[in-house]
């Protein structure tokens, strides 16, 4: 799916970032993102790869859509929300 999902960078180790998606921490690859990424930045994740660092001043507008989608309990027939959840769930878990 092409929607991707934004998350907040917690830490960076080489080309891997630990990224927080609404409380779930995942490892995201930084191989294709074209700007330096640091803790506190928001990135857009697509299939486990950050494709864009989202400017801080724009993050509210970006998160609004996702918060609306994730506001409701999971329902199988809400395709868009399910796609967002699977994009979060699919990424590799952060190591404990």
């Amino acid at each position: 799916m092409c929607l991707g999902v934004p998350g907040k960078v917690v830490s960076v180790d080489g080309s891997i970032a630990v990224v927080d998606f609404w409380g779930v921490r995942k490892q995201i690859c930084l191989d294709v993102v074209d700007q330096p990424v640091a803790p506190g930045d928001y990135i857009l994740n697509h299939v486990g790869y950050a494709i864009r660092r989202i400017p801080a001043e724009e993050i509210g507008a970006t998160l609004a859509l996702y918060e609306e989608l994730l506001r409701h309990p999971p329902e199988e027939d809400d395709l868009m929300a399910a796609d967002v959840r699977s994009e979060i769930d699919g990424a590799a878990d952060d190591q404990p």
Binding site: V32, D78, A92
Partner: protein
């Protein structure tokens, strides 16, 4: 006859816009501008399953003027994966080669069989969320693993990045990746389509940049507006596009500057074009699309499943195509010529748990989106095909440090 429309959120009345006043003002502007055009209908095409999801889920069509026709074009990467490409994966799987692919690909029909059919026969098929998971799986097994790689440029850059990280020697790629800009040329030239402008997908343009559409606009004299996915982003994009159509001004406008620049993500493009080359090929139901398919460059031919394995599609000739498939109009739907409601199978013989055509398989397919957000309510909900990574795959080394 059109099935009764239902909206997931109870329609536009309950639509939670971030800024209801702005939503109202955009909807009013759209009505005014489309009214000025004084032609009916005015057809606008978008080329993104996520746009269609947002339009359907948030009930945006209810806010559109009646004379504005917003059509989904070939924007579902799973759906436009062509029949022979699915056949290649099916043949490999039936030859005993282990296949990893995205979950939405399993039920996409080939000539006579899908990967799910092959799996039911005993073929080894793993569903992965990311190319990185496929590589992790390959590291843990001795046999060859073929990653059946589908998706547009947004997904292809991940495949390219993974390939450039020296994957294990038993890892191969069967690339069915597609590149969106060339197909817009094809759709713009289709005699039955009459699209007057394109709403380009924000996240694909994050990779390519909006400048990629300039040659298209110059050639076809059709405006392109890059838009985001929030309901307000989409409405704002439609207003701008309608203004450009009204003013007869073919131009590219970027209405999604928080993610899209003129040049796009150059680092991602560099990797994409180092690994892949564009070649012509068919998109399911659409046409031959010059430069629309992404294939591995010769430098990476040692990873190319088409070079490593003898893929004999003749082995499928003994299987008769499903009779219902003859009636499927997915191709016309993806070309924007017809809508799911024009299909005799939609919501009856073709439903998400038993899809006839590719558009009912994927969460980004027009038919599945219309079925789930606006189809027959009495048919109930059904499970999705997307799933997480296979059990037992370590998340370690997910992307090489």
């Amino acid at each position: 006859m059109e099935p009764p429309m239902t909206s997931h959120n109870g329609g536009v009345a309950e639509l939670k816009f971030r800024d209801p006043a702005r939503a109202r003002s955009l909807a009013d502007a759209l009505t005014r501008v489309v009214g000025d055009i004084d032609r009916s209908p005015v057809s606008i095409m978008h080329v993104c399953g996520s746009h269609e999801q947002a339009i359907a889920r948030f009930g945006l069509r209810a806010t559109l003027p009646r004379s504005l026709n917003v059509i989904m074009g070939p924007g579902c990467p799973v759906c436009i994966t062509d029949v022979p490409e699915v056949d290649e994966g099916v043949v490999l799987a039936r030859q005993g080669v282990r296949i990893a692919t995205y979950g939405d690909m399993l039920k996409v029909p080939g000539t006579s069989l899908s990967l799910a059919d092959a799996q039911a026969e005993g073929a080894k098929i793993d569903v992965v969320y990311s190319v990185a998971h496929a590589i992790e799986l390959a590291k843990q097994i001795d046999e060859p693993l073929v990653f059946f790689a589908t998706g547009f440029e947004t997904t292809a850059v991940a495949t390219a990045a993974a390939i450039l990280r020296n994957p294990p020697p038993n890892f191969y790629v069967l690339s069915a990746h597609k590149y969106i800009p060339p197909v817009m040329e094809i759709v713009a030239e289709m005699p039955d389509t009459r699209v007057e402008g394109f709403l380009a997908a924000g996240h694909a343009a994050t990779i390519t940049g909006w400048g990629v559409f300039e040659p298209f606009v110059a050639r076809h004299r059709l405006p392109v507006v890059v838009a985001g996915f929030e309901p307000l982003d989409i409405l704002a994009g439609l207003v701008r596009l309608a203004e450009l159509i009204r003013d007869g001004r073919p131009a590219v406008e970027n209405m999604f500057p928080r993610c899209v620049t003129k040049d796009g993500n150059l680092r991602a493009q560099e990797q994409l074009w180092r690994v892949f080359r564009p070649i012509g090929g068919r998109w399911r139901g659409i046409a031959h699309v010059p430069n629309g398919n992404l294939r591995l460059r010769d430098e990476f031919s040692h990873l190319d499943a088409r070079k490593r394995f003898d893929i004999d599609l003749h082995t499928l000739w003994d299987f008769a195509p499903a009779a219902l498939a003859q009636e499927c109009i997915c191709g016309d739907i993806m070309a924007g010529i017809k809508s799911p409601h024009d299909c005799a199978l939609f919501g009856k013989a073709c439903v998400p748990h038993s899809p006839v055509g590719a558009c009912m398989v994927s969460s980004e397919g027009t038919c599945k989106i219309w079925y789930q957000y606006g189809g027959h309510p009495d048919l109930g909900s059904v499970g999705r095909t997307l799933s997480g990574p296979s059990e037992g795959i370590s998340d370690r080394g997910y992307c090489a440090r």
